[in-house]
C-alpha cells in the first residue's frame, strides 16, 4: 500500500490547482456546517448550563415553562419542610420561590426595544445557583429595590450598568451588582427580590420553586413525596432536564435550518469532487494500466482513488474548520421561543463538532470519489496501456 499511497499523494500535488479548488469547495461547506451548528450548540449550552443536577425545579403540573406555571404562597412552606431539600449551615432550607416576567428595554446596538427576562428570586437563590459569581458590586439586599444584572444583559441593553436606576413596574430599581454564571442563560437576565416583584407586576403567587437537593439522587423520592401530598399540584424535575427541554423549540429550528442549508451545499461540493476525480482518472489512464499490469488488483485501485478523494476532502474539511474557528466565543442573541425573550449566548465550537465537520468532509470526499474510482478500476489494461 506504501507505493500506491505515495503515488496518489504525489499525483495530488502535481495537480495542485485543481486539488486546491476542490478542497476549497468542500472547505466552504464544512465552514457553514460548523458555524450554524455552533449556533445551535451555543443556544442549547446556555440553557443547559443553567440547570444543575443537584437542583430540582417545581412547576405546576402540566406547565411546560416557568411563564405558564403557578405556585401558591402556602405551598412554599410545605416544600421547604420536605426532607429531600438541603439546608444551609444556619439550618434554613435552600429553596428559592421565583417569578419570571418579561420587561422591555432598548437594545444597546439599535436602540429598539427587546424583551428581557426579569427574575424575582428568594433570598437563598445565590446559595442554590452556586455557579454565579459577582464581577462588579454585590448581591441585592432582600426587601430593597435593588437588582442584579447578568453580564450579557449589561452589554446588550441600555441603562443596566452598575449604579444606574432602571424604571419598570412603576418604580425605579438600582443596579447594585453584575454577575456571570458560566455562560448560562441567567447571564441574559435581570434579578430582583421576588417579594417586591409580585406587587410591582400585580402577581398573587410565584411561578416556580427551585430547591437544592440533599443529594442528586434524591430527585426520585422528592417526586414521590410531592405526588403523595394532595396540597401540592406540582411536578418536580431535575433542573438540568428542565432547561434541556427549554432549548428544544429554538434549538430544533436552528438545526433544521443548518441541515437544510448544508445538505444542499454538500451536493454541490460532492459534484465538484466528482469532476476533479473523473479528470484525475482520465489523465492517469496509462498509469492505472501500468499499475494493473504490474499486478495491483482492481480493489486496490478503487481503494487508492477513494483514499485520494477522501484525503483531498479532509484537507478541505480542516481548512473549513479553521475558517469557522474565529467565531467561537462570539456572542449573539436569539429569541427563546418558550420564554418569548431574548437570550444571549456564545457560538460554541466543541472538539466534537470539529470532528463532526471532518467526518462530514470525509463522507463528501468518499461520495464524490466512489464512481470515478470504480471507473478507474474498470479500465481494460490493454487499452489503457495503448493510450498516449
Amino acid at each position: 500500500m506504501g507505493l500506491i499511497a505515495s503515488y496518489n499523494l504525489r499525483s495530488m500535488i502535481v495537480r495542485k490547482g485543481t486539488a486546491a479548488m476542490t478542497a476549497m469547495g468542500i472547505a466552504m461547506v464544512v465552514a457553514v456546517f460548523v458555524m450554524t451548528m455552533a449556533i445551535a450548540q451555543g443556544f442549547r449550552g446556555a440553557l443547559v448550563a443553567s440547570g444543575s443536577n443537584e437542583n430540582a425545579i417545581l412547576l405546576r403540573k402540566g406547565a411546560t415553562s416557568e411563564t405558564v406555571s403557578a405556585v401558591l404562597r402556602p405551598q412554599l412552606a410545605i416544600i421547604e419542610a420536605l426532607p429531600q431539600v438541603a439546608r444551609a449551615t444556619d439550618g434554613h432550607p435552600l429553596a428559592s420561590p421565583e417569578l419570571v416576567v418579561i420587561i422591555s428595554l432598548p437594545r444597546q446596538s439599535d436602540n429598539k426595544p427587546a424583551n428581557v427576562p426579569l427574575r424575582g428570586i428568594g433570598p437563598r437563590a445565590f446559595e442554590i445557583r452556586n455557579t454565579l459569581k459577582f464581577v462588579e458590586g454585590r448581591r441585592l439586599t432582600p426587601g430593597m429595590r435593588e437588582i442584579n444584572v447578568g453580564k450579557q444583559a449589561v452589554g446588550r441593553f441600555k441603562g443596566l450598568t452598575l449604579g444606574s436606576d432602571v424604571k419598570f413596574g412603576n418604580t425605579a430599581w438600582k443596579v447594585v451588582g453584575v454577575f456571570t454564571a458560566d455562560d448560562a442563560s441567567f447571564e441574559s437576565e435581570v434579578w430582583g427580590d421576588v417579594e417586591l416583584m409580585m406587587p410591582a407586576f400585580q402577581r398573587g403567587g410565584y411561578q416556580s420553586v427551585t430547591v437544592k437537593l440533599v443529594d442528586p439522587s434524591a430527585i426520585d423520592s422528592l417526586q414521590a413525596a410531592v405526588a403523595a401530598d394532595p396540597r401540592l399540584d406540582l411536578k418536580p424535575q431535575r433542573e438540568r432536564d428542565y432547561y434541556d427541554g427549554q432549548s428544544e423549540t429554538t434549538g430544533t429550528l436552528i438545526r433544521v435550518f443548518a441541515t437544510f442549508v448544508t445538505a444542499i451545499l454538500s451536493i454541490g461540493a460532492i459534484f465538484g469532487a466528482m469532476n476533479t476525480m473523473y479528470a484525475a482518472v482520465a489523465y492517469r489512464t496509462r498509469e492505472i494500466g501500468t499499475l494493473r499490469a504490474l499486478g495491483f488488483s482492481r480493489l486496490r485501485i478503487v481503494a487508492a482513488f477513494l483514499a485520494e478523494s477522501v484525503a483531498l476532502a479532509i484537507v478541505g474539511g480542516a481548512i473549513g474548520c479553521l475558517i469557522a474557528l474565529p467565531v467561537h466565543g462570539l456572542s449573539t442573541g436569539a429569541m427563546n421561543m418558550t420564554s418569548f425573550s431574548e437570550l444571549a449566548f456564545k457560538f460554541r465550537i466543541t472538539p466534537g463538532l470539529l470532528m463532526g465537520g471532518m467526518v462530514f468532509a470525509a463522507v463528501m470526499g468518499a461520495a464524490g470519489g466512489l464512481l470515478p474510482a470504480i471507473r478507474a478500476a474498470r479500465i481494460p489494461v490493454a487499452r489503457a496501456l495503448r493510450e498516449i
Binding site: 490547482g17 485543481t18 479548488m21 476542490t22 476549497m24 469547495g25 466552504m28 461547506v29 465552514a31 457553514v32 458555524m35 450554524t36 449556533i39 405546576r60 411546560t64 411563564t67 405558564v68 406555571s69 403557578a70 416576567v101 418579561i102 420587561i103 422591555s104 437594545r107 439599535d110 429598539k112 426595544p113 427587546a114 424583551n115 419598570f168 413596574g169 412603576n170 407586576f201 400585580q202 423549540t249 429550528l253 433544521v256 442549508v261 444542499i264 451545499l265 451536493i267 454541490g268 461540493a269 459534484f271 465538484g272 466528482m274 469532476n275 476533479t276 473523473y278 479528470a279 449573539t332 442573541g333 436569539a334 429569541m335 421561543m337 418569548f340 431574548e342 498516449i388
Partner: protein
C-alpha cells in the same frame, strides 16, 4: 454570434462534467433564492403594515394586560377614527408542538379595521353571531384539514384563562389580502374568552386607526401621555415599527443568512472555476490550432467566458425555476409558523439569475486568461 455553436459544442465535450456543474450551480441558486425569500418575507411584513394603524401595548411589555377602560380613553384622543383590541391566547391544539397564533379579538371593530382579513359576507355574519365561533386562515385550515363547521378544542396555555378546554366552531376561513396578515392564525371572540377567564377585562393590545397618517407619531404620543403615571403606562407605535421590532428579536437574520449566502456563492465558484480550468486544459492543443489558424486571443478569451456563462446560466435558470415552483407559502409553513409564508418571488428569480451570470463570469476569468495567453509553439508541442 457565429461562435455560439462552438461554445455549446465545447460545453458538450464532457457531458458528465458539464451536467455536474450545471446541477451544482442550480442547487446554489436554488438555495440562494430560498434564503432571500425568507428574508423578504420578514421585510414584507413590516413594509406592508399599515401606517394609519397604531398599536398600544403596556410600556413594560406586551405580555402584561391593560384594562378595557383604555378603549374609551384612546377613542377620545383627537385624531383617532376607530379602536379595536385583542389578546394573545397561547393555547394548545392537541399537542404543544402544533404552534400557531391564536388571538382573542373584538370581532366587529377588528374586521372593520383590518379589511385585509378577507372573509365572505355569509361567513362574517355567521362568525359575528356565534359567540364560540372562530375564523382561521386558509394556510392553517389546509394544514389541519379544517373546514367550515368543524368543531375544534383548544386547551388554554396561560393560567389566567382558567384550566378548562375551550371548544370552538369554525365559522369561516379567511384569506390574507396583504403580507401584513398571517394566514396561519386563528381569531375568535374576545368576550367568550373574557367570560371564562379568572381575571376579567384583560386586553393585550389596542389598535387604533388615525385619520391622518402624518399625525400618527403625535397621536401616539398623546395616547401615551394620557396613561403616564397610571398603574398601566403604555407605549404606542405605528404598526410598522411594531412588527419591525418583533422581527429583530428573532436574532440577526440579515447577518446570518447573508454569510450563508456568501459561502454558497464562494463554494459554487470553486466548483465552476475548477470545471472551466479543466475544460481549457483539455483543449490546449485545439486552442493552439485555432490561434495558428488566425483566431485572435480575444476571440479565444470570449469563447471560454461564453462557455462558463452558458453552463452557469443554464444551471441558474434551472435552480431559480425549481425554487419558484417548490418554495411557496405552504413549504415554508412547514417550519411551524415562525417564518412568514410567502415563497419565492419573481424578483428572487431575477436576482438568482444575476448571481449565476456573476458565477459564470468569475469562474471563467482565470481559465480564459490562461487560454488567451497560451504560447502556440509550446502548446502544439505538447502531447495529449
Amino acid at each position: 454570434m457565429k461562435f455560439i455553436g462552438l461554445v455549446f459544442k465545447s460545453a458538450r465535450r464532457s457531458k458528465r462534467r458539464t451536467l455536474l456543474t450545471v446541477i451544482s450551480v442550480a442547487l446554489a441558486v436554488f438555495l440562494f433564492a430560498t434564503l432571500r425569500s425568507v428574508l423578504d418575507g420578514f421585510d414584507a411584513v413590516s413594509a406592508a403594515s399599515s401606517s394609519t394603524r397604531i398599536v398600544t401595548i403596556r410600556s413594560t411589555s406586551m405580555i402584561f394586560p391593560m384594562p378595557t377602560s383604555h378603549a374609551e380613553a384612546i377613542r377620545s384622543t383627537p385624531g383617532i377614527r376607530d379602536v379595536t383590541w385583542a389578546n394573545w391566547f397561547g393555547g394548545i391544539y392537541k399537542d404543544p408542538k402544533n404552534f400557531f397564533g391564536q388571538f382573542a379579538i373584538e370581532p366587529e371593530s377588528y374586521l372593520r379595521m383590518y379589511p385585509e382579513v378577507i372573509l365572505s359576507p355569509e361567513d362574517k355574519k355567521a362568525f359575528l353571531e356565534d359567540r364560540t365561533g372562530c375564523i382561521v386562515g386558509d394556510g392553517l385550515a389546509k394544514k389541519y384539514a379544517w373546514k367550515v363547521g368543524d368543531r375544534i378544542v383548544i386547551q388554554p396555555g396561560i393560567p389566567n384563562y382558567g384550566s378548562q378546554d375551550y371548544p370552538f366552531t369554525i365559522r369561516g376561513i379567511y384569506k390574507a389580502g396583504s403580507s401584513a396578515i398571517d394566514n396561519q392564525s386563528m381569531l375568535f371572540h374576545w368576550k367568550y374568552v373574557d367570560e371564562r377567564s379568572d381575571v376579567k377585562g384583560q386586553v393585550g393590545w389596542y389598535v387604533a386607526e388615525v385619520a391622518n397618517p402624518d399625525q400618527a407619531a403625535q397621536v401616539a404620543m398623546a395616547i401615551d401621555q394620557k396613561f403616564a403615571n397610571s398603574p398601566y403606562e403604555t407605549k404606542t407605535d405605528t404598526e410598522q415599527q411594531f412588527s419591525a421590532s418583533f422581527a429583530s428579536m428573532l436574532g440577526n437574520l440579515n447577518l446570518l443568512l447573508g454569510s450563508v449566502a456568501l459561502a454558497v456563492v464562494l463554494s459554487t465558484l470553486f466548483v465552476a472555476g475548477n470545471t472551466m480550468a479543466m475544460s481549457v486544459r483539455e483543449r490546449t492543443t485545439e486552442i493552439a490550432v485555432m490561434r495558428t489558424l488566425g483566431f485572435p486571443a480575444s476571440t479565444v478569451f470570449l469563447l471560454v467566458v461564453g462557455e462558463g456563462l452558458a453552463v452557469s446560466v443554464i444551471g441558474g435558470a434551472l435552480g431559480a425555476l425549481l425554487a419558484r415552483l417548490v418554495i411557496n407559502g405552504e413549504f415554508l409553513g412547514l417550519a411551524g409558523g415562525f417564518i412568514p409564508a410567502f415563497g419565492v418571488t419573481n424578483w428572487n428569480v431575477v436576482v438568482g439569475l444575476g448571481l449565476s451570470v456573476l458565477i459564470g463570469l468569475l469562474a471563467a476569468l482565470i481559465p480564459a486568461t490562461m487560454a488567451s495567453r497560451l504560447k502556440i509553439v509550446d502548446a502544439l508541442r505538447r502531447v495529449a
